[in-house]
Structure formats: structure tokens, C-alpha cells
């Protein structure tokens, strides 16, 4: 499908002064695509030029259309000397290649220069005409849609989920080429930006090809990463989940073929760059360890695929049957992995535990053209391991899968993690969806959806590790584990008691500075211990909050020159189906010592107090009478001791644990417990790292996305494990505290999808040898949580709603608190909800009418500006159009209170910014502040140009910051991605149902127990 790309340069505004003498600029524009360049006329002496150019037409191959960005350069014409560049705009035209996405790109783009930042804006119009071509040997994959969203996009319906697609391309990093020594920083940065843009285009095209091969038409949960390997090059890799999506509006579900394993196309890396894996250490140990993150699915009575519902208690044969079915579908795939974290109802049958694998590799610059697939091999190895772990847990698929790297000089840690799971085979087979509707109901009848996914997937008598099993607290028929760790989001149908909260485990480990293989060995020796300790910390913190499950678990291990950092974040919840967590008991190391005993006793008391307090805080009041009903199979389940939970899983671990539990480790443990007791809690604030906050269903559309970056310098004196741990914990807590404080005006609110990233940049960046940089980056999103989903928020209303929130929570749990009540029928509950809503709406109306001044609500600024400034605009001669449209950004896959009507395409942008006048720009903070604001501005401009009004699933993938204060220099690289969408505000009527249904679910959940 060759195509014709057309671009038109309309106008510029707010250009910088390029001619000191006249205080004006003689601007013209170069438009470049591939190797073709067009120029506009020079518009003399103006800071607001009107070019109104003709249509520049490029006739190109669609392969190029996918790979290349449209490059627009604004220059200042100079008669005598060379023309000065003002800045550039790169426009990714990929969204125009899909017939359903955007039809044109049109709007104001910030003109960006890597040295000066944003310098004015340019108005551009871009269109693409595609010709039909049915060449089957094509190298392009136009029409395959990409989504960053890790769930099935809202206005689509998945006909079939194929599974894992992956691809990676390598290239030499221009920053490290010889030519970089002689060219300007600007040229170097631009070369790098362009190359990465090209590479991600190429990557996307290749993934698209694979998807087409598999018979899919879309990639969801598209995750693209850059590995800046320094000297040894640049790797861009991406993973995603292929699935043919059908728009809900169209009825055609494309027939899809059985899935193939990702074929291994030989990559044409022009710059060959490859490494030999010098060390190839993978961890059987970690595999075992991960069994600790146990918690599997177990297929309960399922009326297997419409083959007649033999629903009964003999789950055994059925289970195998189902497994066979599912496996047959899945087994064909090399990797039954899914990057999705949210699934259509019924998709997830059982959820297993977290599986993860890490591997330490040495990057080495070896030009070996015969072996171009080293990287591929590395990843494949890790994926195989994940797969085998999942199998060990009795699961055939991995969901919520992600991969990451951490690089320090030549050492590279590759990590992959996911959640072992059993999936509903119906989604794997062809033409399944037609039957989906009716089948689905059958399935639900058989196993209550609110607890089905918690049931263990493995055989009770043949467990991969010892776990304490109890009968499910909801259905009382199937066994469930005592804790459940997962990397996915909380399934919508899950029954939760109380609210969730963000739980973090933080860990620092020092290591000796070393080179090459020695270094790699040292790191790989440390890794298992770190994983183990992070896990213990998570477990303790979970218990301290009396919760029993973790969702969205993300463990990041980053490597620095002489330390390793581990940061695990997850959202803790109390799943109604799982047993209540045991308490924490502190054991003394020398029981004879009286003082010490006393100390232990006070510690114990503090811990117990904290647990009680947390129960109140998170509103966790599990029904207690149920205990007797079930009868616990394990007598001392109530009080699992501090280390017990981790001890008995495997031989290796047993040994490990023995050395751990007795002496030194205990002190360390105590330290971590103390830390978690002192956890800072702020009223009115909730935080989680999943998409939605468990236990809170009343969202408003008030939304704020933010990015926060902090860099610390450590002095050499603190370089002990304990000292570092303390510092690290403090940093994280302080950051959270700061966030709460900043957002205090939005209380009551919830930090959702908080995403912590830690890095330990190379030492040499700082001139002083004894220091180190430690960088924490948070990308999050804040919600104001209000009961009324109205658009305007004012102070009165806020206070008002706070009262209501307080009101609402107890009654949500009402069925729970009255276990003796025979049954509370949902109808009455729903009625109650709706009467409330009526009442609320009434009140809200009166308040809204009464209030005069509203506080900052993003909604308010979207309508027209007030009359005065409008009249002004008409009188002025300047070519300023309408005010800038508001573009919302969120890391979530949806916008509360709104409906996404169209996905316009993926946004994937990479920027470099450099400065040689750091002090003048307000130091490092000023520099980065400005840069992040500029990145936001450019993302917003691109979305607005596509006709969208929001970015969902936004994430800042990479934020690499380097400085050299002595030379007054700094450089920063940022990579962001997301989905551009159009949303419409739901009317209040429409907004009610989801709210009601979630209310119902929670009541259902509580009800089942009575």
C-alpha cells in the first residue's frame, strides 16, 4: 500500500527573536520525509509568520510511512551566513494509517529545540492518502492498531486474544559514535531523537507484521522500552498482546487463524552490535522463591465449554479436562503470555502467584554478524523460565506480564515478571465470541465470579510448595491460599472488604565495586537475598494492615556501581474470599534477658495496636463468626509467626531461612517492622498503584496527573546496608508525604497508579568520587473522590461530599456488620443507593446554584474564555486562534465519569534536552521542571492535533538525567507513551449504573458469607 503524504504549513506564532538588530525573525520552514525535502518561502520580519504554503506532497512506500516521522524544521533566513535553526517538530503519522483512527493531523505544535526547549509554535496540516495493494509479500503492517492500555480498550470488543508478540531492534547509539566528537550537541541530540523515532517506527511495523501473520489486527498492552547500553548500543524492544479487536459498533469479527509462535524474522540491523553472554546465570533459586508468591488458581466446578454442566464437587477430572482443553489451545504458542492486566469478565478463571525471573548479563561490544540475535536469545531464555515457573504452579498462562532492564556500565539485569494464571479457553478459540454471551452466564452460575479466581489451580495433595489452604470464605466449596500476590489489577468482579492501600517494600544492598565477571557474579549472588527480603517485607506490611492479597505487584531491582536497590510496590487489599491474615509475633533472640523481653513486649503491643488502627483506617471488618463455620484446617493459622510464612517452601529456602530467622536477620526484620509501623497516614488520602482503588467506587471527573522526580546525593559515610535502607525508606516516605501535601487542596482524593521508579546512575556523572545519585520518579494520577459525578466542584460541595463519604462507607458494609441478618436482597440495597443518589443530586444542585466562585476545576476552563478576553481577540490583529483546548492526561486506561468514544492512535515520543547554561536556567531542578512541562506540552499538542482531548494509559517510560555542574551542563532523556482518545462526558444518568453495580458487587461479596 504505497501512499501519498500531504503536508501544509499554515502559520507560526510566538517565534523567538533571531535578529537582534530588528528584534524580529525571517522564518521559513523545511518539511522533510524520508529523503525528500520541501521548503516554504521566507516570511520576512515577523514573529507570527503566515506561510499558508501549498500542499507539499510526498509519494512514499507504506513501509516508510510506518517507520519515518514527518520532520518539520523552522529556520531563520540569513542572507550572509548560514541559516539558523529555530527548532523542529517530529510528527508521527502512524495514527493516520488506520482507517478508523484519526483522519488528519492539524493544529499548533510547539517548535522544539534540544538546546533551547520550546521556541514558539507552528500550525501544520497533515493528511495521508493510502492506495490499496494486496501484495502478500509486503513488509508493512498498516492498519494494525496499537494500544498502550493494558486492558481491552473500552470501545472495542476482543474477538479473540492471541497472545504474546515481541520484537527488538538494535542499533549503535549516535551519542557514542566517533562523529560525535566533532559535531555539535544539537546535531548529536537530533540524530539520536531521529534514530529512536525511526527505530520505534520500525519496531512497531515488525510487531504489526507478526500480528497480521497471527491473524490479529491489534496489539493491546503495547510496552516499548529503550535500553541505552552506552558504548555498546541502543536496543529498542517491545512486547504486547495481539488480539483482533472489533469495534463495538461494527459487528464483524474477523476470522482468525490459530496462533503461531512468534516467528523469528532475521532482523536487518544495519549497525551490527551484539554481545556475547559472558555470564549466563539464571536462578533456579528465584524460581523457587517465587513459589512463595503462591496463590494460584484452581479451577472449580466449571460447566466446561458448554459440554454439559456436570457441576459438582468432583473438581478433579473436570479440572484436568479443562486444563487439557485450554492447554491444547495455549500450548501451540511458544509463550502463553499476556501483557494485559485487566480482563473481560470470565476470561480469568484462576489466578496463580507471581512468577518472575531475572538474569544478569554482561554487555560486551563484540561485532559478530553471525550471531545477531543475542538479545533475543537472552529474553527467550527468561521467558522460558517464566513459562516453566507458571507450569510448576499448575498454570498454563502468564498474565500481567512485563519485562525490564537495569543497566550499569557493562552489567545488565534483565527481569521479567507476571502472574501465573488459568484462562478461560473459550477466548483462545476461534469464533468463540458468538457463544460468549450465553456461555458466560453458565460459567458464572457454576462458580461465583467474585471468588473463583482466588481458588487454587493446583492439586491440593500435590502442591508445588506447602501452603495453608482453607475453604473459600465465599463459596465454601473450594480451597484458597492464605495470601495471594499478583501483578494484575483487581478483577472487577472480586469481592473486597474495606479499602485497599499502597504497600511498598524498599531495600538497599551494598556491594563491592568490581568489574566484568566478578561484578556480575556478585550481583547475581545478591539478587535472591534481595527478592527474599522484599517478599518478607511485603508480607509483614500486608499483615500489619490486616490484608491478605497484593495486586499490581511490581518489583524493580536497579543496579548501581556499589549498590543494588530493590523497590516493590503493590496495592494491598482484603479479599473476602481469603482467610483473615494472621497477626505478627515478635520473637526474641535471647529469651532470658529481661530488658530485652520487655522491649519485645512493647514492640508486640505497638504492632497489635497498629493492626487494630489499620483495620479501622481501611475499614476492614471481616465477619468473625464464619471462623467456626469453616473450621480451620491448620490450627495456628491465626498467628503465623513473623518468618514462618516464608520458611518451608523448598530445601534451598529452608536453609536460607534457618540462617535468616535466628540472629542478625531478626534485628533487620525488627527494623523493617518499626519502619512500617511508623508509616505515615494522612486522612482523606488513599493511594494505590492499580488502576482503581479497591473499595472506593465514587469517582468524580476531577483529575490531575503529575510527574515528580527527585535526585539525592549520598555521602560515603552512610554506605552500610542498614544506613542505606533507612535513608531509602525515608526518601520514599518523604516523597509520598510531599505528594499528599501538594495535593491537599483536592482532598478527599486518591493517588491511583502511582508508579515508582528508582535508578542509581553511574558515579562518574558527578565529579566527586564519594557520592552517588539516587533518583526516584513517580508518575501518578490523582482523583478527587466525590460522591456526585457532577462536573463542577466547589468548596462547599467538597466538604459536603466528605460527610457523605463518611456516611457511605458504613452502610456499604452494612450486610457485613450484621451477619445474623438472613439475607439482604440486592434490590433494596440498590434502592437505597439510588435514593441516596437522588438526594445527593438534589443537594448538589442547590449547592451549585448557590455557589458563586468555583475553585480550579479543569472542566471550567474548557468552555470559552470569558467575554472580555474574547472581545479582545477579535480586536487584535495577531493571528491567534481559539484558546488552547484542554487535554487531559492519565496513567489510567479510562477517565472516570466519561466515556471514551474513539481511540486515535498511540503516542510514543522520545525527547532529549540539553543545556550548557544550567545555572541560568535555575539549576538542575529548573532545567528538569521546564523540560517535563515541555514534554507534557508536546504530548498535549499532538493529541489535540489528532482531534483528541485526552491521553489514557500515559506513562513516562524513561527519564534519564545526567549533569555536570562544573561544566554548567545537563542532559535529560524522556520517553513517554500513551493512547490518544476522544472522550465524552457521561450525563449523570449514565454515570449512575457503574457506580451502582460496583456497590452491588461489594454487597454481594459481603452477602455470600452470611
Amino acid at each position: 500500500m504505497p501512499g501519498k503524504l500531504k503536508a501544509k504549513i499554515v502559520a507560526g506564532r510566538h517565534l523567538p527573536v533571531m535578529d537582534r538588530a530588528s528584534d524580529l525573525t525571517d522564518a521559513f520552514v523545511e518539511v522533510k520525509f524520508g529523503n525528500t525535502t520541501f521548503k516554504t518561502d521566507v516570511f520576512p520580519k515577523s514573529l507570527n509568520p503566515q506561510w499558508n504554503s501549498e500542499w507539499f506532497k510526498f509519494e512514499v512506500d507504506d513501509e516508510d510511512l510506518q517507520d519515518e516521522p514527518l520532520q518539520i524544521t523552522v529556520l531563520d533566513h540569513d542572507t550572509y551566513s548560514a541559516n539558523d535553526a529555530i527548532g523542529k517538530v517530529y510528527i508521527d503519522i502512524d495514527p493516520l494509517l488506520c482507517s478508523e483512527a484519526a483522519t488528519r493531523i492539524c493544529g499548533w505544535f510547539p517548535i522544539y529545540d534540544t538546546i533551547h526547549g520550546i521556541r514558539g509554535e507552528i500550525n501544520v496540516l497533515v493528511k495521508v492518502d493510502l492506495f490499496n495493494d494486496l501484495n502478500s509479500f509486503r513488509q508493512s503492517s498498516c492498519g494494525v492498531k496499537f494500544f498502550c492500555t493494558t486492558s481491552i480498550p473500552r470501545c472495542y470488543r476482543a474477538a479473540l486474544v492471541h497472545g504474546f508478540v515481541e520484537e527488538l531492534v538494535v542499533n549503535e547509539d549516535p551519542e557514542y559514535q566517533w562523529i560525535d566528537r566533532i559535531r555539535t550537541p544539537r546535531a548529536s541530540n537530533e540524530a539520536r531523537q531521529r534514530l529512536i523515532s525511526l527505530m520505534s517506527g520500525e519496531l512497531q511495523r515488525k510487531i504489526g507484521l507478526k500480528v497480521l501473520e497471527m491473524g490479529g489486527n491489534a496489539v493491546v498492552g503495547y510496552l516499548q522500552c529503550f535500553d541505552l547500553e552506552g558504548e555498546s548500543g541502543l536496543v529498542v524492544r517491545a512486547i504486547g498482546t495481539a488480539s483482533p479487536n472489533t469495534n463495538t459498533h461494527s459487528n464483524t469479527a474477523p476470522a482468525s487463524n490459530a496462533c503461531n509462535s512468534p516467528s523469528k524474522d532475521s532482523k536487518e540491523a544495519t549497525w551490527a552490535m551484539f554481545k556475547q553472554p559472558v555470564l549466563d546465570i539464571s536462578f533456579p533459586l528465584i524460581g523457587v522463591l517465587n513459589n512463595q508468591f503462591r496463590h494460584f488458581l484452581f479451577l472449580s466446578v466449571l460447566s466446561g465449554m458448554g459440554s454439559g454442566g456436570s457441576a459438582g464437587k468432583e473438581a478433579g477430572p473436570l479440572k484436568t479436562l479443562l486444563r487439557q482443553h485450554t492447554q491444547s489451545a495455549l500450548e501451540q504458542r511458544e509463550f502463553p503470555f499476556f501483557t494485559l492486566t485487566c480482563f473481560p469478565p470470565g476470561f480469568l478463571v484462576h489466578v496463580g502467584g507471581v512468577v518472575s525471573a531475572r538474569s544478569v548479563k554482561l554487555l560486551d561490544r563484540i561485532h559478530n554478524p553471525d550471531e545477531p540475535e543475542t538479545r533475543d536469545a537472552w529474553w527467550e531464555e527468561i521467558r522460558q523460565e517464566i513459562k516453566s515457573h507458571a507450569k510448576a504452579l499448575g498454570c498454563h498462562a502468564v498474565v500481567g506480564y512485563s519485562e525490564s532492564t537495569s543497566i550499569c556500565e557493562e552489567v545488565c539485569i534483565l527481569s521479567a515478571s507476571g502472574t501465573a494464571a488459568m484462562l478461560n479457553p473459550r477466548f483462545m478459540r476461534e469464533g468463540c465470541l458468538d457463544a460468549g454471551g450465553s456461555d458466560h452466564r453458565l460459567f458464572e452460575d457454576a462458580s461465583p465470579p467474585s471468588c473463583g479466581f482466588c481458588h487454587i489451580p493446583y492439586d491440593e495433595f500435590n502442591m508445588p510448595f506447602p501452603a495453608q489452604l482453607t475453604y473459600c470464605y465465599r463459596c465454601r466449596r473450594q480451597k484458597v491460599p492464605d495470601v495471594l500476590f499478583t501483578t494484575i489489577d483487581l478483577p472487577a468482579e472480586a469481592a473486597v472488604t474495606g479499602k485497599g492501600c499502597l504497600i511498598q517494600a524498599r531495600l538497599c544492598r551494598t556491594k563491592k565495586k568490581a568489574q566484568g565477571e566478578v561484578n556480575a557474579t556478585a550481583i547475581s549472588n545478591l539478587l535472591p537475598f534481595m527478592e527474599y527480603e522484599l517478599h518478607t517485607q511485603l508480607m509483614n506490611k500486608l499483615k500489619l494492615r490486616s490484608m491478605n492479597a497484593l495486586f499490581g505487584l511490581r518489583i524493580q531491582i536497579s543496579v548501581g556501581e556499589n549498590m543494588l536497590l530493590g523497590l516493590a510496590s503493590a496495592t494491598g487489599v482484603y479479599l473476602s474470599a481469603l482467610p483473615a491474615p494472621g497477626g505478627i509475633q515478635v520473637a526474641g533472640k535471647t529469651p532470658s534477658d529481661l530488658n530485652y523481653d520487655q522491649h519485645i513486649a512493647t514492640m508486640q503491643k505497638r504492632i497489635n495496636d497498629t493492626i487494630t488502627k489499620n483495620k479501622e483506617l481501611y475499614n476492614i471488618h471481616p465477619p468473625e463468626s464464619t471462623e467456626e463455620l469453616v473450621g480451620s484446617p491448620i490450627p495456628d493459622r491465626q498467628r503465623s509467626r513473623l518468618f514462618r510464612s516464608t520458611s518451608e517452601s523448598s530445601d534451598e529456602l529452608l536453609e536460607l531461612d534457618l540462617s535468616h530467622g535466628k540472629k542478625d536477620a531478626f534485628v533487620l526484620e525488627r527494623g523493617s517492622v518499626t519502619m512500617s509501623i511508623n508509616m505515615f497516614v494522612s486522612s482523606g488520602f488513599y493511594s494505590c498503584n492499580t488502576e482503581v482503588m479497591p473499595g472506593i467506587y465514587n469517582w468524580t471527573s476531577g483529575l490531575q496527573m503529575f510527574t515528580s522526580v527527585r535526585v539525592y546525593r549520598l555521602s560515603n559515610a552512610n554506605l552500610t546496608n542498614q544506613g542505606l535502607n533507612k535513608i531509602f525508606t525515608e526518601l520514599c516516605e518523604n516523597l509520598l508525604k510531599s505528594l499528599y501535601f501538594k495535593l491537599r487542596s483536592m482532598i478527599p482524593c486518591c493517588l491511583c497508579h502511582v508508579n515508582f521508579t528508582v535508578a542509581v546512575p553511574e558515579e562518574e556523572l558527578i565529579q566527586m568520587g564519594a557520592v552517588r545519585l539516587n533518583c526516584v520518579c513517580v508518575c501518578g494520577c490523582v482523583f478527587v473522590c466525590l460522591f456526585v459525578s457532577g462536573s463542577g466542584e466547589n468548596e462547599d460541595q467538597l466538604q459536603f461530599s466528605m460527610e457523605l463519604c463518611a456516611d457511605s462507607t458504613p452502610s456499604n458494609n452494612q450486610p457485613t456488620s450484621k451477619p445474623s441478618a438472613p439475607s439482604v436482597d440486592y434490590g433494596s440495597f440498590a434502592d437505597r443507593c439510588s435514593t441516596w443518589l437522588e438526594l445527593l443530586r438534589l443537594k448538589a444542585h442547590t449547592i451549585r446554584r448557590g455557589s458563586v466562585k468555583t475553585i480550579s476545576s479543569a472542566e471550567r476552563c474548557s468552555p470559552l474564555p470569558e467575554g472580555r478576553s474574547r472581545s479582545l481577540r477579535s480586536t487584535r490583529s495577531m493571528p491567534c486562534g481559539a484558546p488552547v483546548a484542554v487535554v487531559k492526561m492519565t496513567p489510567l486506561s479510562f477517565l472516570p465519569g466519561t466515556r471514551i468514544v474513539k481511540y486515535l492512535g498511540i503516542i510514543n515520543m522520545f525527547f532529549i534536552r540539553e543545556t550548557t547554561s544550567l545555572r541560568e536556567e535555575g539549576g538542575v531542578s529548573g532545567f528538569l521542571h521546564c523540560f517535563i512541562a515541555e514534554v507534557f506540552a508536546m504530548v498535549r499538542a499532538h493529541v489535540a492535533a489528532l482531534g483528541g482531548n485526552a491521553v489514557v494509559s500515559y506513562s513516562m517510560k524513561e527519564c534519564v538525567f545526567m549533569e555536570n555542574p562544573n561544566k554548567n551542563q545537563a542532559q535529560c532523556l524522556i520517553n513517554v507513551s500513551g493512547d490518544a482518545v476522544i472522550f465524552v462526558r457521561e450525563s449523570e444518568q449514565e454515570a449512575t449504573p457503574p457506580l451502582m453495580s460496583s456497590g452491588q458487587i461489594s454487597s454481594t461479596g459481603a452477602d455470600g458469607t452470611t
Partner: protein
């Protein structure tokens, strides 16, 4: 361990108006943190000093980045860098262009030049306003002055359009521009008792009645440059004709008789008024006739104080009495059969009367 970098950026720019005020007041971050602590910021959200410091730094940085845009407020609405709700935009602009009247009083009538800017530290120490804040206010004055200097059309509206200010603010700025342009003398010791608002009122009177734009209906005013900034030359010339009121003995006497007749028994200082009438009248008329000279225009206010207000104050006239006198004095001229310059007279006396009344502090 030390924090090297600490940044918080929101998609919608978060701005705390209380901190904005502290920033505008020219406080350093440290001072601002202290001020916030005194206001009890630590009680909110269990914050500590570190959190407060970080928050304040962030906010200050945001304001600094925005400052460039605030220099031409119309850009704020269509710039792409910061997504600021329009309400906040308006608030940002309004507060940025707010000024201390004490400071404005100091620079009123001075040339808005580099020289004056150098003296700002004196003003700063005199008024207790930080030098930073003084600079901002001074630069605002200068910027507004530069932009509207060469524009056609009504002054207040021009200011409003280019700087998106409120009515009151635009009028105050118009006064400042007007004073700076005509360089009225306001710094003399005798004028110290007058506030900025007094002068702003006088300026608005002058702009409204004495400038070229004031007779807008007669001209096609879009054609006239500086219509609100300069006093109408023709009018100032015609003022010379008022001299007849004091030069013609008959007319002067008759004028006095008419005024006295109207005021007899109505004011306590009648006797003093009667004795002083000729002096007062002469002062007012001489003032009018001299206004063709730029130097005398500059001295308008000092002359009013010295020749009219001070004598009256010496004799302890009340404001009511001054009002009555000036009203009768103006009206009586209409009764003079031989006096033909009624229109000019009214235009002159209307403004002079309002100014004197405003400037007359008992």
C-alpha cells in the same frame, strides 16, 4: 545525603495563590517557608519543614517559568507550555499586575527610565517593600507604558485589552501612564500628604475631560494618536481667554458679588471668603492661562495646593464650604453677561473643582 533535584510537574499546573502572593512580595524561598509556617501550614496534612520547603521551591519555580508569559498576558491563553485553568490565568495576571499604592505614589510622575530603576532601593527601604517586588512593579509600569504609548484609541481600553486587567486596575495603570507621560510634579514635600488614589482620581478627571479623546464625539478619534495621554492643545490655548475674568475689573467685581450673594449665611467662613475672593479667583484663572507651558502643566498639582488649597486650609474652611464655594464660583460665571467662554470655563472648572475637592484634606 542531600537533595540535588526535586521536581513536581502536573499536567494541569497546580498553583497555590497564597504562595503566589509570597512570591510576588519578593520573599526568598526561606522567608516564604517561614511565613507559611507562621500561618500554620504545618498543621495541614502533618507536613514537616522539609515538605514545606520542597513545595515552596516547586511553586516558586513554576511562577518563575510563568513570569515570562505574564509579561504579555494575552499569550497566556494560547501558550502550550502550561495547562492553566482560565480562572487561574485571570488570577495570575491580576495579582501579577497588582501594585502597592505606596510604591506607585513614589514613582508617580517620574520618568520610567533606567535612572529611576536605579533609585528603587531607596524606595524599597523607604516603603518597606522588598526590592524584588519594587522591580516587578516598576517593570510592570514600564511595560504597560511602552505598549500603550504608541497605540491609538482610548487608554483604559487599550490597557485592558493588552494586559487583560480588571477595570479598576486598568484605570490605575492609565493614571500611572498619564502621569509618567506628562511628568506631573508629585514629589514635593507639600504634596506628600496626597495618596496615590487621590492622584489617580485627578488623572482620571484629566483624561476624561481635558485630553483630545475627551471630545471624542467631535473628532473621528480612531485617527488621533495619544488621544488620552496628552492634554488637548487647542483647549489649553483657549484657557488663555479666561483671563478676562480677572483682568476686567468689572467682571471680577460682578463675579464676586454674585458668589457672595449666593453664599451669604451659608458658610461660616463667609468673611474670610469675601476677603480672599480676588486672590483665589486670580490664582485659579492664572493657573488656567499658564497651562500652555509644559513646565506649568507639570506644576499643576503643586500650584493647586499652594495657591488654592493651602490658603483655604489656613482659614479652616470645611470641605463642605469649599464645595459650596467652588460650585457657586463656577455657576456665577454664567451670570456674567459679558463672559462668552462658557464652554471652556465649564470644562476647566469641572476638572479643577473635582481635583481640589479630592485633594482637600481637612
Amino acid at each position: 545525603m542531600s537533595m540535588v533535584l526535586d521536581v513536581f510537574v502536573g499536567n494541569t499546573t497546580i498553583m497555590d495563590m497564597d504562595i503566589y502572593q509570597l512570591w510576588l512580595d519578593g520573599l526568598t524561598v526561606r522567608e516564604a517557608v517561614k511565613a507559611r509556617m507562621d500561618q500554620g501550614a504545618l498543621l495541614e496534612c502533618e507536613a514537616n519543614a522539609e515538605v514545606l520547603m520542597s513545595d515552596t521551591m516547586d511553586q516558586f519555580r513554576t511562577f518563575q517559568l510563568c513570569e515570562r508569559l505574564l509579561h504579555s498576558p494575552t499569550k497566556l491563553a494560547n501558550q502550550l507550555l502550561f495547562q492553566i485553568p482560565s480562572q487561574h490565568q485571570r488570577m495570575l495576571i491580576e495579582k501579577y499586575y497588582e501594585f502597592d499604592s505606596v510604591f506607585a505614589r513614589e514613582v508617580l510622575g517620574k520618568k520610567l527610565s533606567k535612572g529611576t530603576k536605579k533609585d528603587l532601593d531607596d524606595i524599597s527601604s523607604k516603603t518597606g517593600i522588598t526590592l524584588k517586588s519594587c522591580r516587578r512593579q516598576f517593570d510592570n509600569f514600564k511595560r504597560v507604558f511602552k505598549v500603550v504609548e504608541d497605540l491609538k484609541g482610548p487608554l483604559v481600553e487599550n490597557i485592558q485589552h493588552h494586559f487583560l486587567l480588571t477595570d479598576t486596575q486598568a484605570r490605575d495603570y492609565a493614571a500611572i501612564v498619564f502621569f509618567a507621560n506628562s511628568r506631573f510634579e508629585t514629589g514635593k514635600r507639600k504634596l506628600q500628604y496626597l495618596s496615590f488614589q487621590d492622584f489617580a482620581y485627578c488623572a482620571s478627571q484629566l483624561i476624561q475631560y481635558w485630553t483630545t479623546g475627551a471630545v471624542g464625539e467631535l473628532h473621528l478619534y480612531s485617527m488621533v494618536e495619544d488621544m488620552d495621554v496628552d492634554l488637548e492643545k487647542e483647549f489649553l490655548h483657549e484657557l488663555k481667554d479666561l483671563k478676562v475674568l480677572v483682568n476686567d475689573k468689572n467682571m471680577l467685581d460682578q463675579h464676586k458679588v454674585l458668589v457672595c450673594a449666593a453664599l451669604r449665611g451659608k458658610i461660616k467662613v463667609y468673611r474670610l471668603m469675601e476677603a480672599n475672593f480676588k486672590n483665589l479667583s486670580r490664582a485659579l484663572i492664572n493657573l488656567a492661562s499658564k497651562l500652555t507651558h509644559t513646565k506649568d502643566v507639570r506644576d499643576l498639582f503643586i500650584d493647586l495646593v499652594e495657591k488654592v488649597i493651602e490658603p483655604c486650609r489656613c482659614d479652616r474652611w470645611t470641605l463642605g464650604e469649599v464645595t459650596l464655594f467652588l460650585t457657586q464660583y463656577t455657576n456665577a460665571a454664567h451670570g456674567l453677561g459679558t463672559f462668552s467662554r462658557q464652554v471652556v470655563w465649564d470644562r476647566y472648572m469641572g476638572v479643577i473643582r473635582s481635583c481640589i475637592l479630592r485633594m482637600y484634606h481637612e
